[in-house]
Amino acid sequence: MRDPLRRATTIAVAASLVGVLALAGACASDSKKTSTAASTITLSVDDFGSFGYDALYKQYEAAHPNIKIVERNIATLSTYTPQLQQHIAAGAGAGDIVAIEEGIAVKFMAQPDKFVDLNQYGGAALQNNFLPWKWTQGHSADGSKLIGLGTDVGGLAMCYRKDLFAKAGLPTDRAAVGALWPTWDAYLKIGQQFKSKVPGNGFVDGATNLYNTILMQTAGQGQNYTYFDKSNNLVVDTNPAIKTAFDETVKMSQAGLSSKLQSFTDAWATGFKKGQFATIACPAWMLGLIQTDAGDAAAGKWDVASLPGGGGSWGGSFLAVPTQSQHPKEAAALAEFLSNPQGQIAAFKAKNNLPSSPEALSDPAVTGFQNTYFSNAPVGQIYASGATSLKPVYLGSLNQEVRTVVENDLLAIDTGQLTPAAGWTKAIADAKRAAATG
């Protein structure tokens, strides 16, 4: 690892070996396909984070004895994205099904020739399985091809530690807590109140998670786009949603409410375990993450209340089948199975990923679901109630790249490396550079 040139060589050698093996493998599977039609087909599913599909895989394998499913999971999206990009561009290496997060969806939907048009496999009939905007987002830019089937949407709420709230003399009941903060300014005031009583703990986990939440919420209520407008022009310095989210986040940080942790890092996970902060804005998909990171010791200490400033959506994904798949027909069938209303309900039960199917959203299994870890919070009801009225936010094809640099500058402000004014200037400059070179 200490020798990059040698490393590059190693990579080249490895790549060529893989190429040879892939050729050999392709030949082998081809010959197998022609000789024995009933042989086992292995479908690989590439995804990130927690999709909650384990039970569904078993169920599908039991119903289709000739199918074997291998999930290749990568923990964080920022590691997953460049790999997927490489595999798709190189035409080899991607799974038979790949998960595409909404933040990178535009980038991949803009390469329709790299993905199987699911309409070939009866995709058009699935329209009613999805919220209308989720259905539209799964299509290529011109709307002619169905590329991704929606999995979840990222309804927003605020998770909080009841024990820390009690310590600060704040109410702990979720309805009363939600009533404390109709707006972000009210949330800031409660934070200051909390800090004066419990100075040892942070009120917010850190800048980036809060920023993304406010940005997606504000954008969802206004322009419906973030860094890029709908013609893909960079509008980082003119879109008021970005400035609002940025300023609001900086205000919290300057008031000393932040625990200065970067989302999705080890220190952040330790923060959950140690109960270092009292609140975190939590999209539905984050509940599973909190439970894993905070561990059994924190069971019953967390609860879920409504988000300051109204609802919104951040995150959510699609399943797509790359054209490089050897078994597009089988892969498409599996993707349909995983994303149908029953599949979405199962994923919700496993990891609280909020369904994008209207049928699943109104299903009693979802609306009546209480999460025992989160003090029996009726998370199904909390998240599902706003989900049908959600408006999609357009994220440009270089959304991920720009988001990363802006997050980094916020992090630097949060940890006192940059003044807010210098941070904003730098964020705009960095965003422009990322958009130009990305």
């Binding site: 200490r2 990059p4 040139l5 060589t9 080890d266 220190a267 923060g271 500058d409 940890t415």
Partner: protein
């Protein structure tokens, strides 16, 4: 192959005039040594020199992920020289190299000097210094990242007794340099100690005895005999450390939670990380190759400077 040549030559005994067999023998004597060492050079050619040259070729192009490329001449280098992120990476790399290498080599030399004396359990101590080398870099990276944790790290806990509170080791440039250099030193000091020790054992004992009779103290003996005699060893270790130190990659990467930018403001990004980021995350292969070549040049320059300094330092004393 050479054996075949010889057996083929044997049935014809050499007559008066030099026949073909003698010519073959001469060829054998001249060529076979090269043949014996050729496997290394052939492998080096295929896996060392060729990639080096090819990287340079790629660096003269705009080269994207699909292999689409067009010739741009030295434009990548031109861009690189005005790229603030590149110079930031160079600063970090050189700073960490200096902060890590100077105490490392000095420490290794004193440690080797101590181990060169008669000690109980000599082998245990001598092998003991090598123990950190056996640990995987990744493990070192993870453990040290936790030691240097802001909220629950051992180092900050120790520092709070001295009245220093919660240093955010990832946030500042100087703190990243310190933490990463500590990691490097922990791993490589023992390795250099053993090399110095080997060098010291090759110094004739009678030099020290004569000096002792002349009344030279241990310290004078160290500076006047040991250090000058170690000159070739010092040059070797400093060049090897230069190559290793300037290619620093895993330690800063692990310390920054696998963030290739090495922190929110690129506080800990080294040139090797910037190369990786350009080539394998932004898929600008041409630009990444240019970074690789600049790193290569940087290593040559610093190794040369090192060579000149150490030659003067060690040579000027006696």
């Amino acid at each position: 192959m050479t054996l075949d040549l010889q057996t083929a030559a044997r049935p014809k005994p050499a007559p008066a005039r030099p026949p073909r067999g003698a010519w073959r023998n001469r060829l054998d004597a001249k060529a076979s040594p090269y043949l014996y060492i050729s496997p290394f050079y052939l492998l080096f050619l295929a896996f060392g020199l060729f990639p080096l040259g090819y990287t340079f070729w790629v660096s003269l192009h705009h080269w994207d992920i699909l292999g689409n490329n067009h010739y741009t001449g030295l434009r990548n280098y031109q861009l690189l020289l005005t790229d603030p992120d590149f110079w930031n990476a160079v600063t970090n790399t050189v700073a960490m190299f200096v902060i890590a290498t100077v105490p490392q080599l000095l420490g290794a030399m004193f440690l080797a000097n101590a181990l060169n004396r008669k000690l109980r359990a000599q082998t245990l101590f001598r092998m003991g210094v090598l123990a950190p080398m056996v640990t995987s870099v990744a493990a070192v990276g993870i453990v040290f990242s936790q030691l240097f944790g802001r909220d629950y790290g051992l180092i900050n806990w120790l520092l709070h007794f001295a009245g220093v509170h919660n240093i955010d080791w990832q946030a500042h440039q100087w703190s990243q340099w310190t933490a990463i250099s500590t990691m490097v030193d922990w791993r490589w000091t023992g390795y250099n100690t053993l090399i110095f020790l080997a060098g010291m054992q090759a110094i004739p004992r009678d030099l020290y005895e004569a000096a002792a009779i002349d009344g030279a103290s241990r310290r004078v003996q160290f500076w006047r005999i040991t250090v000058p005699s170690l000159r070739p060893t010092i040059i070797f270790t400093s060049i090897v450390s230069t190559i290793g130190g300037l290619q620093l990659f895993t330690e800063p990467l692990m310390f920054n939670q696998n963030l290739m930018q090495g922190g929110s403001l690129r506080q800990g990004q080294t040139v090797a990380m910037y190369m990786y980021e350009s080539a394998f995350q932004r898929f600008q292969y041409g630009y990444g190759s240019a970074v690789a070549w600049m790193l290569f040049l940087l290593i040559i320059i610093i190794a040369l400077i090192n060579y000149l300094i150490t030659r003067r330092l060690a040579g000027g004393r006696i």
